[in-house]
Amino acid sequence: MITLSDLHKAYPTAGGPLPVLKGIDLHIDEGELVAIMGSSGSGKSTLLNVLGILDGYDTGAYELDGQLVRALSEADAARLRSRAIGFVFQSFHLLAHKDATENVALPLYYQGIGRAERMRRARQMLVDVGLADRADHMPGQLSGGQKQRVAIARALVTQPRLILADEPTGALDSTTSDEIMALLQRVNDQGMTVLIVTHEHDIAARCRRVVHLKDGRIERDERREPQGAGAAP
């Protein structure tokens, strides 16, 4: 699904280029549930930007679903992103002036799908994440966990190959975190590749694979049986 080979990236600064990713080699198979851990400054965000095709890289190679992601134009990157990747963010990033269904439908707008079809698919997706009764609510009327469910529905609505979740439980209490993790695990069980960036150990502990990032390099790549309360059966 994802293959990173000797990936390097540096940011230009006034005092010369500042290397952030210093040779990342990583392979993620289809259907994996992977946590990426690391302290701030470890290169997590940059890696997420590169994986999400929101930013380029300097040397090495990034293959997504068998396709080399390299020197794409912004528009091509946007199209590939729209087709292949769904994003989930720590602070949900629902548009406040749209109701839940409209928020979920927004990615389809950028795929050029008509409004009626968008709304139909979005409503179905809200049913799938258990929010059928909140379809017409505005984000302000939803709890944190409900907002994140809406965000996950929005990430799934384009039927991408990969979900990139950036601290998806960072703004939630532990009970709600469990629910969200359970939802992500369920999505993973249905065959979706899910990649979670987190600094919370109990979240990472629920993933079969944990990649530890430190100072721009992969420090450790653990594979194990998931554990912890509320783990998927």
Partner: protein
């Protein structure tokens, strides 16, 4: 496919979300255009009004009135009253060939009772003011004949008792008669019978159309005037302001020689040079127009700065939203076009509202205050105002375009992290 309605919905939604900011921006744009329209309209109104006040008489006319000498000359004392005569006019025509029409007036003061016979055998009379003059008067006063003819040189030479009457006079004395039927009728003017040879209109308005004209020679003979002339007036063709001043000066010198006063004695004759006054007023209008445009350009510039600022703030505030839209598959082009369309919609709507509002106010002024001293027929130069509106819209659009382009390029993960 997503249609224009879909896109419009996205754009409008963004404005309804930030009602206050949208209102302030729209307000500043609309106000700028509104004020520009009002300013330009008021300027045109003032100018039209002045032109209208000049409408009665030929702009290229010079009027000369006799005065009293204020300098001793050729042994004559000061304080001598100057009196023009028919000979003066003949002399002026000889010496100053640039004059294309000339006339004197012999004043017949007060109103005169004019009586006409009705077809039924009765009489009908009214009081009107009478002017006696030369044939050239027609061009100086801008008299327009609607029936018959004006006074002719032969009328003057023969001191004929003929009369040219204003349209209102004709309507009053001969009610219900066709104008051509009025010609040849006899009217009684202070005991003397005159034959009507023409009926006229005058752009100068109602008062002018209540006048009657008779030959100056007839008036002089009938009312004991000898060959006295109270006032000389003439037009100077297409002479420039400088040439007109020169002509007036030469006429003054002819009169000075005829009446033995100092050529430089400005009190001996008084000169009213319409061309010069009109030119002076036009100069004022040039400055007024420059002033109005400066204010207008300033207003529009302020609007441009306002719109630019608001768009900058709007884009900055929405970094997270733009980042999110980018993450879920919007191309930079789509993001930029969304912001630009927002700016376009806002400024174009507001600019149009200001334009319509301004024009409506001008129209209201025109309807509700048709006759006043200051403003007449206020209008705006539509291409100029539309140009200003387009300028504002373009500026607002550019002001959205630049920051949006920058925002659309940023990798959004950081922007989306912080909230």
């Amino acid at each position: 496919m997503t249609g224009w309605l879909d896109r419009l919905r996205e754009v409008v939604e963004s404005h309804t979300r930030h009602r206050f900011r949208t209102a302030v921006t729209a307000g500043s744009v609309a106000w700028g255009i509104f004020m520009l329209v009002l300013l330009l309209g008021a300027g045109t109104g003032l100018e039209n009004n002045i032109r209208w006040q000049f409408r009665d008489d030929a702009i290229n006319s010079i009027w000369i009135y006799p005065g009293m000498t204020s300098q001793p000359w050729e042994g004559q004392p000061v304080g001598r009253v100057v009196q023009f005569s028919n000979a003066d006019i003949e002399r002026i025509v000889e010496v100053v060939p640039e004059i294309d029409h000339i006339s004197g007036r012999f004043y017949l003061r007060g109103e005169f009772t004019i009586t006409a016979q009705t077809p039924a055998g009765g009489t009908r009379s009214g009081a009107f003011s009478v002017r006696s003059c030369h044939p050239g008067h027609r061009y100086i006063e801008q008299t327009m004949m609607v029936a018959g003819r004006y006074l002719s040189p032969r009328d003057l030479a023969a001191e004929r008792k003929v009369i040219v009457i204003g349209l209102r006079v004709a309507e009053f004395l001969f009610p219900g008669r066709p104008l051509s039927g009025v010609l040849g009728e006899w009217v009684d003017l202070a005991g003397i019978q005159y034959r009507v040879v023409g009926v006229f209109e005058d752009v100068g308005g109602e008062g002018e159309m209540r006048q009657v004209y008779i030959p100056i020679t007839t008036a002089q003979a009938a009312y004991g005037g000898g060959d006295q002339v109270h006032q000389v007036m003439f037009t100077v063709g297409d002479a420039t302001v400088e040439e007109a001043a020169g002509i007036a000066d030469r006429v003054r010198r002819v009169l000075a020689r005829n009446h033995h006063f100092a050529p430089g004695d400005l009190r001996a004759v008084r000169v009213r040079n319409n061309l010069e006054s009109f030119h002076e007023i036009q100069q004022i209008f040039v400055w007024l127009r420059i002033f109005i445009w400066l204010v207008g350009v300033g207003t529009v510039a302020a609007g441009v700065v306002g719109v630019s600022n608001i768009m900058l703030i709007s884009v900055r505030e929405r970094t997270a939203e733009l980042g999110l839209r980018k993450a879920i598959g919007a191309t930079p082009g789509q993001l930029v076009s969304m912001v630009v369309q927002e700016a376009l919609l806002l400024t174009a709507t507001a600019g149009y509202a200001g334009l319509v509002g301004g024009v409506a106010v001008l129209e209201a002024v025109r309807r509700l205050m048709p006759e006043n001293e200051y403003i007449r027929d206020p209008q705006v130069d539509m291409p100029a105002v539309i140009g200003a509106t387009v300028l504002l819209v373009v500026a607002g659009t550019l002001a959205g375009w630049f920051p949006a382009r920058r925002a659309a390029r940023v990798a959004p993960v950081e922007a989306l992290r912080s909230e």
